[in-house]
């Protein structure tokens, strides 16, 4: 059962199977976040109270985290480049840097949530904060999942094996990034 089926090695659609599948994963993820953020926007437009709640979010922390995630995506791209050149160990190092970026993001997020909860803004204190924690929490879960998968990919890439996976996890990581690009203005900038 170690060998792949022949089916996996075919590419009638002209795209490697793994990449095709990752795009479908992302397509199904887009509608998950789309439903959540769509609901948020509809609420936001019809509830004035959201604006006063949103005033409590810290735009500078959000901006810093945006910068951290975008930088980590740069490392993911560099890792992909190294993998294409067949340099597995370098690709693995780049993926570790990407994971490091994700870790900084989560630490900042932890501080931010700690401070919010300390000031009495909890999951159930208002509908705005319910969305704030649910959307950012769902995103953070994706960050954590991406980091774990990336560690596995880096571990095989280090031995110069399965280098195509570096690109696949990179595509996923960029998607997680893009979700944050939507969350940041919706939750932090629009006051």
């Amino acid at each position: 059962m170690s060998a792949r089926p022949i089916a996996t090695t075919r590419s009638a659609a002209g795209m490697p199977t793994g990449r095709l599948a990752v795009w479908w994963v992302i397509a199904s993820e887009i509608v998950i976040f789309g439903g959540l953020l769509g609901s948020y926007v509809m609420f936001r437009l019809s509830h004035d109270s959201f604006a006063s709640d949103a005033a409590n979010t810290n735009m500078y922390i959000g901006a810093f985290n945006t910068w951290v995630l975008l930088t980590s995506s740069l490392f993911a791209v560099l890792g992909h480049k190294a993998a294409e050149e067949g340099n597995g160990p370098k690709a693995a190092r780049m993926l570790w840097l990407t994971v490091g970026g994700g870790a900084v993001f989560l630490l900042v997020k932890t501080y931010e949530w700690y401070e919010k909860i300390h000031h009495g803004h909890t999951l159930s204190s208002s509908t705005f904060f319910s969305f704030y924690y649910t959307a950012a929490g769902l995103h953070a879960l994706h960050v954590i999942a991406g980091m774990i998968i990336m560690l596995f990919v880096a571990n095989t890439a280090r031995k110069n094996l399965e280098l195509h996976r570096v690109e696949l996890i990179g595509i996923y990581w960029h998607f997680v990034d893009v979700v944050w690009i939507f969350l940041f203005p919706l939750l932090y900038i629009a006051k």
């Binding site: 059962m1 060998a3 089926p5 022949i6 089916a7 996996t8 090695t9 075919r10 590419s11 009638a12 659609a13 795209m15 199977t17 095709l20 599948a21 479908w24 994963v25 397509a27 199904s28 993820e29 887009i30 509608v31 998950i32 976040f33 789309g34 439903g35 959540l36 769509g38 609901s39 509809m42 609420f43 509830h47 109270s49 999951l123 159930s124 208002s126 509908t127 319910s130 969305f131 649910t134 769902l138």
Partner: protein, 567 residues
């Protein structure tokens, strides 16, 4: 596109012999075994769903009766039974059998490859599906009992335990549904990727059998529609357990939001389960009419069109939920529009049958009955899609009869059609035709006797989800009660005939006559493999030279022309 390395295949066959019994049946990554797992699990769940229907129908027809095998049905148990009957039949019968079982079995065999592109993901998908069933069944036995707020899970019944009376059952129910979605997202990604990438050399877009197309389109519809409901399920779980108020108007939420999230998925879901059956029927009627499918490309484009349109009709479930009447007008128009592509598919099938050399085998009877019964379901949908008529008919037995006239053909008739048609391939033996035909008539006649009275009852004003009609003087009239009793007795007859099916299934499984490779003389690739196909499906993977429906081609000795035959 490269030709298959033969050595790799040997490795497969070799590994097969070393498999233990447990690995073979429960830990297999073979798409055919996973398909059978889904098939049998789905049919077992259908027995539970059918049993629930039997219990609550007995209570409706004979209020207060001590239902044999269950006991007296209490009001909350009644709600629990109808809720889980609906959820089980949609999520744990129609989805696993039509999409997962037939999709898993047919996609690799019909496009000529050895397995799904991600066999381990496939196995994981089934395991998560099984876990969702464990969670669902566990929810029946927790304090307070299983969830009883209808399969649509509308808040506040689902969100507030003081209304729903099932504090733990509701959360477990939502969790089970969410797990089931995860399983089918994995399966869907596998199906779509396999069909896109792993086709046999020579198989062009329009050489793909219709059932594969339909399962792929259904998988895409599922992936594109389920997301908001996944988000909604998370929000509902938070509302239930963590004190948020997404759907609670007291604290700034909105219960109608749930209805939007649910039906944005729920309506495309109808087409998610419909399309595979439409595909199965296409395969069967072409084989048994010995004719080319009329307007292959039109059917395909129509299916895509239906898919797109199905995302714009969801609010017709909410005409009386307080949505803006202007919006209701728009959704009336889109809902009536979607009947056009579906009607067109039905006409195309009738055109396929026209002038064909029809053989009335058991699968063909099921396929024809699908067209006839689904037409009734479709036509009655027009009444409900028009917002004016829906205000009167909403939440009556008319609605209930309407969607059973759609879902029964889809889920039950579709399953029987597909199973009786592909049974020789799946298990290498033939089913008994005589028993199959008796079972067919014993199912289809009582089915109509159940639901035609319910149309009448609904039009007379009988509301759904009411425990005991004798409490309502205008609904307790003897002529209405007798119709309900007639429907219930018809249900008993129909359920009784399913014993015959189970006997035929298991008898044929072990003692049926051996099936040859291609008993129906069909064109598609699965019939060129052994019955049942071994691990890896073919010693050498096939190459495709033509479309799947070249029947009765003039100038040929045989009236069929397999896709892989060079000339």
């Amino acid at each position: 596109m490269a030709t298959a390395p033969v050595t790799h295949h040997d490795a497969h066959g070799h590994g097969h012999h070393e498999e233990s019994w447990f690995v073979h049946y429960f830990w297999s990554t073979d798409h055919k075994m996973i398909a059978k797992q889904y098939m049998f699990t789905g049919m077992a769940m259908a027995l539970i769903g059918g049993f629930f229907a039997y219990c609550f129908r007995m209570q409706i027809a004979f209020p207060g009766i001590d239902v044999p095998g269950f006991g007296v049905v209490s009001p909350n148990e009644y709600n629990h039974l109808i809720t889980n009957h609906g959820a089980i039949m949609i999520f744990w019968v129609a989805m696993p059998v039509l999409i997962a079982a037939f999709g898993n079995y047919l996609i690799p065999l019909m496009i000529g490859c050895d397995d799904m592109v991600f066999p381990k993901l496939n196995r994981l998908s089934y395991q998560i599906f099984l876990l969702s069933i464990v969670v669902l069944i566990a929810s029946f036995f927790v304090p307070g009992g299983g969830f009883a707020g209808a399969w649509t899970m509308y808040p506040p019944l689902s969100a507030k335990p003081e209304y729903g009376l099932t504090p733990l059952g509701a959360s477990l129910f939502v969790t089970a549904v969410a797990l089931e979605f995860v399983a089918f997202l994995m399966g869907g990604i596998n199906f779509v990727t396999t069909a896109m990438n792993s086709r046999a050399p020579g198989m062009r877009m329009y050489d793909i059998p219709m059932v594969v197309w339909m399962i792929v389109i259904a998988s895409i519809l599922f992936m594109a529609s389920v997301g908001p409901l996944v988000a909604g399920a998370v929000m509902l779980l938070f509302d239930q357990n963590l004190g948020t108020a997404f759907f609670n108007p007291d604290k700034g939420g909105d219960p109608v939001l749930w209805q939007h999230l649910f039906w944005f998925f729920g309506h495309p879901e109808v087409y998610v389960v419909l399309l595979p059956t439409v595909g199965i029927v296409a395969e069967i009627i072409t084989v048994f009419a010995r004719k080319k499918l009329f307007a292959y490309r039109t059917v395909l484009y129509t299916a895509f069109g239906t898919g797109v349109l199905s995302f714009m009709v969801w609010a017709h479930h909410q005409f009386i939920a307080g949505i803006d009447p202007r919006m209701a007008n728009i959704f009336t128009i889109t809902t009536l529009l979607i009947s056009i592509p579906i009607a067109e598919m039905m006409f195309v099938y009738i055109a396929t049958l026209y002038g064909g050399a029809i053989t009335l085998t058991t699968p063909m009877l099921w396929a024809l009955s699908f067209i006839a019964t689904f037409l009734v379901g479709g036509v009655t949908g027009i009444f409900l899609g028009a917002s004016g008529a829906d205000i009167y008919l909403h939440d009556t037995y008319f609605v209930l009869a309407h969607f059973h006239y759609t879902f029964f053909p889809i889920a039950i008739i579709g399953t029987f059609a597909g199973l009786s048609y592909w049974f020789p391939k799946m298990f290498g033996r033939m089913m008994n035709e005589t028993l199959g035909k008796i079972h067919f008539w014993g199912t289809i006649i009582p089915f109509n006797c159940i639901f035609i009275p319910l149309f009448v009852l609904g039009a007379a004003g009988e509301h759904r989800r009411i425990f005991d009609y004798t409490n309502f003087s205008e609904l307790a009239r003897p002529e209405l009660r007798q119709l309900d009793q007639f429907a219930t007795i018809s249900l008993l007859v129909m359920l009784g005939f399913q014993v015959l099916f189970l006997f035929n299934l298991f008898y044929s499984l072990f003692w049926g006559p051996k099936a040859e490779k291609n008993p129906w003389k069909a064109n598609t690739l699965e019939w060129t493999a052994d019955s049942p196909p071994p691990h890896g499906n073919w010693p050498e993977l096939p190459r495709v030279y033509r479309g799947p429906y070249e029947y009765s081609v003039p100038g040929r000795d045989q009236d069929y022309w397999p896709q892989n035959a060079q000339n």
